[in-house]
Structure formats: structure tokens, C-alpha cells
């Protein structure tokens, strides 16, 4: 470091140092939770209220996330399933991505439907993965049984008791979508909400997609919109603490460090530009 000013050092912190500090800032709160309060934000309240106000017997379509995004959606999906299984509603699971089927198995290993007295085929079932993106959504809306000849395990749809009454989009009350793809979150609006605006659309996206989804929410096409990050708030609200609450502390740790790095970077850069070389 000889001959380098403090400003120079601050302006050129090696990336390995940044990575290590950020990593520690994420790990420490996971091992030693800070126990910070978890204020429940407005979007999560809306999400909760929408599910809570579902009339008994409502049919809900759940389009869950793909494998790559699972670490982000874990807590929101698990908490939503706990909430849904505790309500007298029927669920149809759907995967818009080939890797989604693994996600479904993982979810059900964390939320046991039997604990809520729910039976496969009677209270819920999975229609599998249908490729095609928006055309798959369109097919489901128009003629459910033509689009879904069998469930995800290959059982013919006629042998699934709860599928007997499902004809098309008109039988559904709500869609809940967890996705890391913009064409999926907007696709449901195009293929379902435009056709039947009465359907309540709950959309959970990666936080980075919130700005692009917000115009649709403000236009009334989405009933509840949230990012995946505040899963802890939802766990707190339904009284099922899980990975989301722990995550909240890791967010605080990592983001505080990032804020500090932004400040350091800017101070160093401004000081350098003003020609104040700093203390040698």
C-alpha cells in the first residue's frame, strides 16, 4: 500500500474483499438471527386478505415457480400453501416450466396436505407441465379437459374426482402465480384476466420484476402483487415461521453492507475528482 492515498485504497477495494464481506454479512445473520421486528407490508396484507376472503368451495389455480427461482420463492410458496390448505377451497397446481415438477414435490414435502385433511384428487391435484407458455394458458382457459388429458403422474383426468366439474376458465375464482419470468406473470393477464376480469389474480414475482408489474396492478388487473423477498412477513402473519423470517435478517446484513460500499465508492470518487488526494 506504500505510496497510495486512503482515497486510492477506498476507490479500488479488490473485488475478493467485497465478495468476502458480503458473504459474511449474509451468513452471520443466518447463524445468529438479529431478531429484528418483521413489519407486515401492505402487499402481503392484501395477499392474505384475498385468500382469506375466498368463498368456500372456490377453485384456485396455482402456477408455481421453476427450479432456478425456487430459493427465492420458497417461503412465499410454502406460506401460501399453508394458508390455502387451511381454507375450504380446492386447488389445481400447474407448472409452466419443465423443471417446475420438482418444485411441486419439494413444496409438498414441506407442507403436508394430510395435516389439513386434504386428499389428492379430491381437494387438490397437479395437472403437470404444459409447454407453450401463453398458448398453454389459453388452452387451459378454453377447454380444461382437452388441454389436460391426465394429471402429472399420468392418471387420466376422468379418474380425478374434483376434475369432473372443471370445464373452463369460468369455474375458477382465483389464480396465484409465482414466477421469475415476465412473460408468465403478464401472460396470465393476457390469457385469463382479459377474458374474465372477475377472477382474482395474485401475483408473486422476483422483486426485480415488481416495477414492470406495478402498472398492471395499478390498472386493477392484479388483485395482489408482491415480491418474493417478504415471505417472512407472510409466515409471521399466518403464524408459521420458516426460512423467510431468517432471510429478513440476512437482507438487512447484506443490504447494509451494500449501502456502505455505495457510500465509500462515491465519497472516494468525488474526493478524487475534486483533487483532494486525501491523507498520505
Amino acid at each position: 500500500m506504500a505510496g497510495k492515498s486512503i482515497i486510492d485504497v477506498l476507490e479500488n477495494i479488490p473485488r475478493e474483499v467485497i465478495y468476502t464481506i458480503v458473504l459474511i454479512a449474509m451468513i452471520l445473520p443466518l447463524l445468529r438471527p438479529l431478531g429484528l421486528p418483521v413489519p407486515v407490508s401492505e402487499p402481503i396484507k392484501k395477499w392474505y386478505d384475498a385468500i382469506e376472503s375466498l368463498p368456500p368451495g372456490s377453485l384456485v389455480l396455482i402456477s408455481h415457480c421453476n427450479l432456478g427461482a425456487y430459493p427465492a420463492f420458497d417461503s412465499m410458496q410454502v406460506a401460501t400453501l399453508h394458508h390455502l390448505f387451511s381454507r375450504p377451497v380446492k386447488l389445481v397446481f400447474f407448472s409452466i416450466d419443465a423443471t417446475g415438477l420438482v418444485v411441486y414435490d419439494t413444496l409438498l414435502s414441506k407442507v403436508d396436505p394430510k395435516a389439513y385433511g386434504k386428499v389428492y384428487g379430491v381437494d387438490y391435484f397437479h395437472i403437470g407441465y404444459i409447454p407453450g407458455g401463453e398458448t398453454a394458458m389459453k388452452a387451459l382457459a378454453e377447454d380444461f379437459k382437452a388441454a389436460v388429458p391426465s394429471d402429472y403422474k399420468g392418471t387420466p383426468i376422468d379418474q380425478i374426482p374434483m376434475a369432473k366439474d372443471i370445464k373452463d376458465i369460468r369455474d375458477f375464482t382465483m389464480i396465484i402465480c409465482f414466477t421469475s419470468a415476465g412473460e408468465t406473470s403478464i401472460g396470465w393477464i393476457r390469457q385469463w384476466i382479459v377474458v374474465r376480469p372477475e377472477i382474482k389474480y395474485l401475483c408473486c414475482v422476483l422483486d426485480m420484476m415488481l416495477p414492470t408489474m406495478r402498472p398492471y396492478y395499478e390498472a386493477g388487473q392484479v388483485a395482489a402483487l408482491t415480491g418474493s423477498a417478504p415471505g417472512g412477513e407472510y409466515e409471521f402473519l399466518i403464524g408459521k415461521p420458516g426460512s423467510g423470517i431468517k432471510k429478513a435478517d440476512a437482507f438487512t446484513g447484506a443490504q447494509l453492507i451494500l449501502l456502505v460500499f455505495i457510500i465509500i465508492g462515491n465519497i472516494a470518487s468525488i474526493a478524487k475528482r475534486m483533487g483532494k488526494g486525501g491523507v498520505r
Partner: protein, 226 residues
């Protein structure tokens, strides 16, 4: 003559398929009353299901393309290490295909169902999930190196970005309500306005592209030139 079945017929198929979907959209009401509406609905639905079925065949192109690239690489690679990576790729791909064909629940005979689950859970899951997740480090480095106020517009980006990171931090959510109110306002008004402008522009572009595709002006999807 050959241009007829090589080019004109595929373009006509695109147009007819699009036309059926258009007619279905505009002329089939939610409550079907006329027999012709019912027929149109049937054609629209069948066509949509056919497109979904054909999309499965397209997935196979990925396997063929990867195989071609890596077969070439094995033949041309100079070092054994490079050959090893491509050979390993084939081994993993073959393992997934073989176990999948006898383990994926929708197959006829599934004696390898448990192995299929294992492969998904312990090989595919960590890889798929970590690829996106590891970008956090580049993001951190980017925050420090690139997020600097060099121009006035850059300063606006920086200030809003900085406050927005605070807004998304649980600590500030609990103890700095003014940040929450400020960014809530920005997210609800100027950000929605700007993004809506961007999205409407993009949608108009996509609609135009769709019409050009239907009428045969846009032909990139047909692949190589004749």
C-alpha cells in the same frame, strides 16, 4: 414449384392458424349459442393444443444442437481435459434421458422413479438454483464500482437507488418510515408512469411484429434462406 411447398405453404399455414385464433377471439362469446361458434371454438382449442404438443418436439432441438456442438468439440479438442468436459456432458445428459424415460411419472413403465427424483433433487436443483443466485457477488461489486454520481441523471439514479435499497431493508422498514413513504410514492407514481410508457411502446411493437408475421412479411422463424 419447390418454393410453393418450401416457403408459400408454411407461410399460408401461419396465416390460417393466426386467422383461426383471431376469429375465435372476436366471434366466440363466453356463452356459446350458435353451432358455428361451437365449431370455431373447437378448431381454436384443437389448434392451441396442437401447438402445445408441437412445442415438446421443439425442446428436442436443444438436445440435438448440444450433441452436435460437443461431438465436434470432442473430435477437435487438443487437450484431453477439454475432451473430458464434453464427454462428461454426454454422460450426464444420457443419464438424465435414460433415467427420465423410465422414471418420469408420465412414462409407460417407471421402475426408475426413485432415481429420477434423486437426480432432480441433488443434481439439477443445486445447479439451476445457484447459477442465478451467484450473481449477487457481481451485483455487490457493481454497487460499489458503477453506482456513482458522475452526471446529474446518474445522481438521480443513485439517490433513488440508494433510498430504494433502504426501503427494501427490513431494518429501515421498521425504523425509518419516511423512507418507506418516499419510495412508496416513487414506486406508485413516477415509476409506474415511466414503466407504463415503456411497456405500451413495447406492446405496440410486439403487436406490429405479430401482424407482420401473420401476413408473411416477417419470416425469420422459417430458418435458413432457400
Amino acid at each position: 414449384m419447390s418454393v410453393l411447398y418450401r416457403r408459400h405453404i408454411p407461410l399460408a399455414i401461419t396465416f390460417i392458424c393466426g386467422l383461426i385464433i383471431l376469429l375465435q377471439f372476436f366471434f366466440v362469446p363466453a356463452n356459446i349459442t350458435e353451432p358455428w361458434q361451437s365449431s370455431l371454438q373447437y378448431y381454436g382449442v384443437t389448434l392451441t393444443n396442437w401447438a402445445n404438443l408441437l412445442a415438446n418436439f421443439i425442446i428436442g432441438f436443444g438436445v440435438v444442437n448440444i450433441s452436435l456442438i460437443h461431438a465436434r468439440r470432442i473430435m477437435r479438442a487438443k487437450s484431453w481435459v477439454d475432451k473430458f468436459y464434453s464427454i462428461w456432458l454426454f454422460i450426464v445428459m444420457a443419464a438424465f434421458i435414460v433415467v427420465g424415460l423410465f422414471g418420469y411419472p408420465r412414462m409407460w413403465w417407471t421402475p426408475l422413479a426413485a432415481n429420477w427424483d434423486w437426480l432432480q433433487l441433488y443434481v439439477l436443483t443445486p445447479l439451476d438454483a445457484t447459477v442465478y443466485a451467484s450473481l449477487v457477488f457481481y451485483m455487490a461489486s457493481g454497487c460499489y464500482r458503477a453506482f456513482r454520481a458522475r452526471t446529474l441523471e446518474g445522481a438521480a439514479l443513485l439517490v433513488v437507488g440508494f433510498l430504494s435499497i433502504m426501503y427494501k431493508t427490513p431494518l429501515f422498514q421498521a425504523y425509518a418510515p419516511w423512507v418507506i413513504k418516499t419510495i412508496d410514492w416513487i414506486a406508485k407514481y413516477p415509476a409506474v408512469g415511466a414503466y407504463r410508457g415503456i411497456q405500451v411502446s413495447a406492446a405496440l411493437g410486439a403487436i406490429l411484429l405479430g401482424i407482420r408475421t401473420l401476413i408473411g412479411v416477417e419470416t425469420g422463424y422459417l430458418g435458413r434462406r432457400d
